[in-house]
């Protein structure tokens, strides 16, 4: 899968729309999103599945898009930070969930997933769910507070 000239076409659902992309077989989903499709919201922080800045949903579950070969997205549902409505982020804005913003799209993706699945808080803490998103600015309190406020309906929703 090395030849740069050897391209393949992959179709999947991206943020609710069926799309098809021409990719190099060895491409990572993160690179396809960022450089082929121009969706630069997902960031590369480490390229090894540690920092979570590239978090997207694959069939509804959060994954590190730096660890997904794009061809595995074929026929699947991919959702990125670009699909998150800004008006749903008021509580996180007010709580100081973002500072430099580099980890933030990934943080928001995991946080929004938890908001869609509040039942997870019966078995997990918010801090455990968020542990796959490294942030170097906030010390995490701004994120956890914003998530809590959003889930309790507080803040400008």
């Amino acid at each position: 899968m090395s030849d740069e000239n050897e391209k393949m076409r992959v179709g999947f659902t991206l943020n609710g729309e069926a799309i098809e992309a021409e990719i190099v077989p060895s491409e990572r989903l993160l690179d396809t999103l960022r450089y082929t499709l121009g969706l630069t919201g997902s960031k590369e922080g480490c390229g090894e599945g540690e920092c979570g800045a590239c978090t997207v949903y694959l069939d509804g579950l959060p994954v590190n898009s730096c660890l997904v070969p794009t061809f595995q997205a074929r026929g699947r549902r991919v959702e990125t930070i670009e699909s998150i409505p800004p008006e749903s982020l008021g509580a996180m804005l007010a709580s100081g969930a973002t500072q430099c913003g580099a980890c933030t799209p990934g943080v928001v993706m995991t946080a929004c997933w938890l908001r869609r699945h509040p039942e997870l808080l019966k078995s997990h803490t918010a801090r455990e769910i968020m542990a796959g998103n490294l942030c170097r600015c906030t010390g995490y309190d701004g994120i956890i507070d914003g998530l809590r406020d959003a889930m309790s309906g507080k803040g400008a929703e």
Partner: protein, 734 residues
Amino acid sequence: MNRLEGLSKLTGRERYIDDLRVDGCLWGMTVRSPSPRGRLREVRFGKSIDWSKFVVVDHRDIPGPNEVYLIERDQPVLAAEYVRHVHEPVVLVAHESREMCRRAVAAVEVIVDDEPAALDFRLPPTPEQVQYGADNVMKRLKIEKGDVERSLASAAHVVEGVYETGAQEHVYIENQGMLAWVEDGVVIVKGSMQCPYYVLNALKHALGRDERGVRVIQSPTGGGFGGKEDYPSNLALHAALLAMKARRPVKIIYDRSEDMASTTKRHPSRVRHRTGFDRSGRMIAQDIDVLMDAGAYVTLSPVVLSRGIIHGAGPYSCENVRIVGRAVLTNAVPFGAFRGFGAPQTQFAVERHMDVCAKALGMDPIELRRINLIRDGQTTATGQVINDGTDRVAILDRAAEMIDLRGKRAEHESFNATHPHLRRGVGIVCIYHGAGFTGSGEVMLKSRLKVAGLADGRVEVLSSSTEMGQGTTTLFTKLAADRLGLEHADVLVPEPDTLRAPNSGPTVASRTAMVVGLLVERACDDLRAKVGLAESARGAAVKTALVAWHHAHPPVGAELFGEAEYVKPPGISWDQDNYKGDAYGTFAWAAYAAEVEIDLRTYATRVTDFVAVQEIGRVLHETMARGQIQGGVVQAIGWALMEECKWEKGAMKNCQLTNYIIPTSDDVPPIRVEFLENPYAHGAQGAKGIGELPMDGPGPAIVNAVAAALGVAPCEIPITPERLMEMCEVAHVG
């Protein structure tokens, strides 16, 4: 008021340098030294690559001096004849395909005739390892007050200790990245950086151009922490050299491993303390020796050492103090600026030492601090009289109260006596941090700032102070809006661009809100005066006057500026030669308390509660100020417990986030922050610096808590489980 660019960041719409699509852009990549020290014999370009398809740059392509312009000019842009550390840049390549660049870099072999490398800063170099002066020491500094030897000789108790701290990697989540292109003969560089004018000066110098031939634009910057203070100059030069040769735009984006391996880190340190006390526990003499590893080039080490020694004695009053500082060159990657700038290292030492002293004296460590904390009218080690009306004892008492020191101690005593393998403890420290540049630094910088009055009645703040997450854009907007009585929407803060923005100095040293913020206010005043308004004019009157001015000055595009330049606050004097006088215009003061739990099965330490109480003048923005403290505390928790650079031939071998471990949300407790306010007359709206302070306290607070829990005396961070296990074995703990 919410962070202005907050929603753009939360939704992923903020465009960082790697997010910009540029037509015809090439990727640039770097070939590096495999050796820590030696003569560069040959660079072999592998035959597997068709090199005619690449742009290749080496030191011969540099139009001006092959020097990165900073304090000294000892660091080459690209190694020419000699290498001084592993990963030192030697050759640059560029190609349309990033993948082809990777293959090309892998196909280049750099051959070095190795020479003996100096790799442990704590050991005196052998004659073969000497590369600078007689002993590789490239900077010596000394602070002296009173008669230390005589006081030590007369002291009732003398307590000694040696404290060490390790290197720390910044781990800004956005890696270093820079884009360069040439437009109408001007070399333009855009990228992730803290200090556009540092980059501009570096470009002017090595490219042999004047300021008309170069231009620097900051792109949204995904974290800096000092890591983007000096290094972006090197990267900007690399990108510019490739772009000039390619005659096309070139972007260099480091991946995480390259960034960790080849960019600066926090200086490792070793500090010795010898402290004399009288019978009542009053400190009568402090003899302190500070040694820092500068790495392979001078970079900012003299200044880091300077800030380190100035904070070396702690926030205490002592009449006899001697602090000697040395920074020694080694063949490690150059160490550079990192949040706190030397002060976290020396305050780790002094605050850990205070607990060691308390134990030796049989005193409560809180009481020992209370006795010795500096009172108004007393002087620091440099002889600076502190007279700001802040009650430092009250700060300490508040931290003790918030963590419930008395209750926790009793609770821990019974818990530790009964639990099979868990041990708990509390540690408290007192810290301080000088705000702004040291000594006459601000005077020499002569920072300037402009506020433009626009034809539609809005204003625009033009400065080189960068937004990297700490909130510059929001704060400047607030300050200008408050000053002129405008809506926030009437204030624009564009990205710093050296074409338009004057040099308001580097975005470092916790100086932006306090020092540059004051310039925002004064430039607003100047603007108001320029349009003939009285000082009391606000809001609509200002807007109307701006519109009217533009009407009266018809040439379309005429510019109206309010300007301000730094003015030294009255009564401040600093003797740089003797390190005497007012080291800083003011200090921020704090007391931090940590509660820890150690699992004696694994020797892992967990911080279970953390309290940060600080007096920072005035809080300009509650959420952002708290965020600065919480983020700094967690970064310092990482430094204290888990962040460890592992070295091999001076190169960081764990340069991946799987092996260099920073805290996750699940590793830290909520950080409880409280502010005490005592407005500073010479800061914007009474503000003092805040960003670096939280880096100073957590290390010693945590280690003091571990010592309290286990009865061992750790004197080195990070206090990894492996280190703690060795100490417990020696002490027969658990």
